[in-house]
Symmetry: C3
Subunit: 348 residues, 3 copies
C-alpha cells in the first residue's frame, strides 16, 4: 500500500512543497496521526496542534501552509483529504447486481436487473425495487413497498407494508419505517388501537439514521420531504409531514400529526408535541420542548421552547436569584427600620 | 377498484345525502385528499378545511353534515372511515399457517399448527409458540421463550432467552426484550456486571413499539402488566414492574427497579429514576424527570417533576424575572434615598 | 428440579440455620417471592418486607440474619444468590463451536476454530473472528471487521465495514456500530454528506446496550475506551473518543467530536453537545445538557449543566419565586407609602 507524497499530490491535483519521494503510510486527522502519515489542517488555528503531532506531511489550503513540514496545497482541503483517505482505505463491500441466493423474494416482487439484493434479505409480495438499488444483508421489505432508483439500504432495515421510498435515499441499519402509530381510544378501561391504514412516504435524497423509527399514518401517509436528513434514533410519529431539506439530529421525537416547513433544523433530543407546525427555516435548539407553533426563521430553545434570546436572559437571571433573594431580605429589614422611624416620628 | 358512493354508504350502514352513483377513487384525510376521493370530518371546526379541500364526498356524523357536498352520515365516523379506507387499501400480507422453509427452528421448540412463522425466523430450544401466533420475517426467539396465543411479532423482533409474552400482544419491529440490565459493581477500578438471571414477562394485550428495549431482571422478572401500550424507542430497565393499562409514549426511559400502578400515562421523553413508584392514574408530562414517588392521580411536569399547576406558575414567574430584577434595583435606590433623608433628619 | 435447603447451603458454602431437608422450589427477590422459594436480604432495612413475604427461607449476611425463618448465612449475599438462581434457571443456550450451516460467510473471512457462529449470521469479506467469539443469530458483520477473542454478540447486531471490536466485549441485540456520521455541508440549498471514511474502534471489556448506535468517524476512528459500559439506546456520534471505564446510561446522546476522560459517569437521557471535553471522573446527572467542557471530578446537573449544588440552590429558589414576587409587591407599596410621608414632611 506504499504511496509517495508526489503520487498523493497528483491524485488531488495539488501543489507539493517538499520531498515527492517521501513514503506515506496512511492518512488521519491531527488527533489520531501517526509517524509516516499525512494529516489535514483546514484552519490556521490548528497550527499549534499540527506542530505537536506526529504526521510526516500535511494537506492544507493556500491561506495556511506551514513552512516546516512537507505540504500539499489544494483549494478544497476536505474533498482532497477524502480522496487520500479513500486511497488508504479501499471500500471492501462489493455490490454485484443480482439477488443473493439466500434472499427470500416473493414471486410477485419486481426487481431491476442492476439492483443488488444481499444475503438473507426478505422481499414481500408486490414489492418494486428500481434501478441501481442496493439492499444489504438482513433487510426486511414489506409487501407492496416501492424503493426508488439509486437508494441504498444498510443491514437490518425494516419496511412495513406499502412503504414508499424515493430515489437516491440512504436508509441506515435497523431503521423501521411504517410501524403502527401510537393512537388509542380508551373505552371501558381498555386502550383500543386506532386505524393503521396509512403508510410512510419518503421523498428523494432523504437520509435516515440507524434505529430511527417513522410510524405509518392513521388513514394516509406520514411524509418525509425531499432532501431531508434524519440522524440516528429519531422518532417521527403517525401522520407527521416533515418538509424538504430539514436537518433532524439524533434522538429527536416528533409527536403525531405535527408538520414542518422547509429547511427546519432540530438539534439533538428535541421533543415536539402533537399537532403543531414549525415553519420554514426555524431552528430548534438541543433538548427544546416545542409545545406550540414556531414561526418561520425563529430560533428557539428551552422547554417550553421560547426565543433563544429570551431563554438566555432567563438563564442569566436564574443565576442572579440568590442575589435577588438576599436583596429582598435586606430591603425588608431596611424598610421595616424606616417604618419604625417613621412611626416614632408620627407619634413624637 | 372503482366503487360508488352508494356502495360505500351500504358498507358503513350510513345515510347517504348525494349521488349514489358517484365513483369514488380513494379515501384520505382532509389534508391529503385528492379529487374523486372521500374524506372524513369528525368535528364542526373542520368546516373551513373541508370547504377548501379537493375531496368529492365526505363522511360525517349527524351533528356536522355539510350541505354543499355529498355526505354519508354515520354515528361513529372513525370506525366507518377505517372500513372505507380498508376497502381501498387491502392488506397484502398473507399469514399462512406453517413454518417457512427458510426459518431455523430448534428440534425441541413446540409450535401450534395454526401459527405462522415467516422467512428467516430463528426459534431456539424449548420455545413454545401458541395458537394463532404470527412471527414475521427475521425475528429471533431465544431459547425457553413462550409466546401466547394470538400474539403478532413484526420483523426483526429479538427475544432473549426465557422471555414470556402473553396472549394477543403486538411486538413491533426490532424491539428487544431481555437484554442485560445495566447494573455494575465497581471493584478495583473495573465495572463488574451484576447477575442477569431474571427474564422479561409481558402480560396479555400488551403492545410494544419499534426499537423499544426492556431489560431482564437481576434474579426475577421485569414485568409489563396486561393491557399496557408502549410506544417506539422506550427503555424499561431491569427489575421494573409496569402496571396494567399504562400508556408509555415514545423515548421514555424508566430506570431500574421502578414500578407503576395501573392506568399511568407517561408522555414523550419522560425519564424516571430508579427505585421510585408512580401510583395509579398518575399523568407524567412530556420531558418530565421523575426523581421521587408520584401519588395516585397526580399530574406532574418538569424536571424535577412537580405538580403541573406549580410548574405552570413557576414558568409564568420566570417570565416576570426581568421585571422583578428591575423592581428590586429601583427599590434599592429608593430605599437608599429614604435612608439618606432619614439620616439627615436625625442629624438635623 | 427439587433441591433441599441443605444442598443450597453447601452450594454457596454458607451456614444453615434451619431444616436442611426443606424442599426449595425456586429463588426470587422479596417482591416476587412465592411459597416454597428462597429469597435474599442484603440489608437490615428489609426486615419488614421479609416478614411479610411468602418465601420459605432466606439468604442473608451475618449482620442481618432473621431468627424466625430458615436462613443461610454467607459473606457475599449477591454472589451466593446468583449461584442459587442459576441452579433453578439453567442456561439453555448452547454455543457449540462452529459455523451454523444457515450462516452466510464470505470466502475471505477468517474464523477461529472455537468460535460459534449462529444461524443466519452474515459475515463479510476479510472479516477476522478470533478465539472464543460467540455471534448469535441474525448478526451482520461488515467487510473488514475484526472481533476480538472472547467477545459475545447477541442477535441482530450490525457492524458496518471495518469495525474493530476488542476482546471480551458484549454487544447487545440490534446495536449498530459504524453508521454514517451526521455531518453535512449545505451548498446551493442542498445538504451534502461529509466524508465517511473512518470507522468505529471498540476497546477490550466494553459492553454496548441494545439498539445503541455508534457512528463512524469522518476520516479516522470513533473510539470507545477499554472497560467502558454503555447502556441501551445510547447515541455516540462521529469522531467521539470516549475514555476508559465510563458508565453511560440509557438514552444518552453525545454529539460529534466530543471526548471524555476515564471513569466518567453519565446518567440517563444526558445530552452532550459537539466538540466538548468531559474530564476524568466527572458525573453528569440525569437529563443534563452539557454545553461546554466539564472539569475533572465535577458533578453537574441541569440544562445547561451547572454544578449540582448550584442547581439545587436554583431549584430551591425557584420554589421561593411566588413568595419573592409577593415580597417585592409589598415592598413597592410600603416604600411608596414612606416616600409619601417623606414628601409630606418635606413640604410641611
Amino acid at each position: 500500500m506504499g504511496v509517495t507524497l508526489g503520487q498523493l499530490a497528483s491524485l488531488v491535483e495539488g501543489t507539493l512543497h517538499g520531498d515527492a519521494q517521501l513514503e506515506i503510510s496512511g492518512a488521519s486527522i491531527i488527533r489520531d496521526s501517526q509517524p509516516g502519515e499525512i494529516t489535514l489542517a483546514d484552519h490556521p488555528k490548528l497550527a499549534k496542534d499540527l506542530a505537536r503531532c506526529s504526521a510526516a506531511a500535511v494537506l492544507a489550503s493556500g491561506e495556511f501552509a506551514p513552512a516546516d513540514m512537507p505540504v500539499i496545497v489544494v483549494a478544497n482541503v476536505h474533498d482532497a483529504f477524502a480522496k487520500i483517505v479513500a486511497q488508504f482505505r479501499p471500500n471492501l463491500a462489493q455490490h454485484k447486481p443480482g439477488v443473493h441466493p439466500s434472499a427470500v423474494v416473493a414471486d410477485s416482487a419486481v426487481i431491476a436487473a442492476d439492483a443488488s439484493i444481499g444475503p438473507l434479505v426478505v422481499i414481500g409480495e408486490g414489492v418494486s425495487i428500481q434501478s441501481g438499488v442496493v439492499i444489504q444483508s438482513g433487510a426486511q421489505i414489506g409487501a407492496g413497498s416501492v424503493i426508488g432508483a439509486g437508494t441504498f439500504l444498510f443491514p437490518g432495515v425494516v419496511l412495513y407494508e406499502n412503504t414508499i421510498v424515493g430515489a437516491n435515499c440512504i436508509l441506515h441499519a435497523s431503521c423501521v419505517l411504517g410501524a403502527f402509530g401510537f393512537g388509542y381510544d380508551s373505552a371501558s378501561g381498555k386502550h383500543l388501537l386506532s386505524s393503521q391504514l396509512g403508510n410512510v412516504v419518503i421523498g428523494d435524497f432523504v437520509e435516515i439514521g440507524a434505529a430511527t423509527t417513522i410510524d405509518r399514518g392513521t388513514y394516509g401517509p406520514t411524509v418525509i420531504g425531499d432532501g431531508t436528513k434524519i440522524d440516528n434514533q429519531v422518532m417521527i410519529a403517525h401522520n407527521c409531514r416533515i418538509g424538504r431539506h430539514n436537518l433532524i439530529c439524533s434522538q429527536v421525537g416528533v409527536a403525531g400529526s405535527s408538520t414542518t416547513g422547509d429547511y427546519v433544523v432540530m438539534a439533538g433530543q428535541v421533543g415536539v408535541r402533537d399537532h403543531v407546525h414549525i415553519a420554514d427555516g426555524a431552528i430548534i435548539g438541543a433538548k427544546a420542548g416545542v409545545a406550540s407553533d414556531i414561526g418561520a426563521g425563529l430560533n428557539v430553545i428551552g422547554s417550553p421552547a421560547i426565543p433563544a434570546k429570551d431563554k438566555k436572559l432567563e438563564v442569566a437571571l436564574l443565576s442572579k436569584l440568590p442575589e435577588m433573594r438576599k436583596q429582598i431580605k435586606a430591603l425588608l429589614a431596611r424598610v421595616a427600620e424606616l417604618e419604625k422611624e417613621d412611626e416614632l416620628r408620627k407619634t413624637a
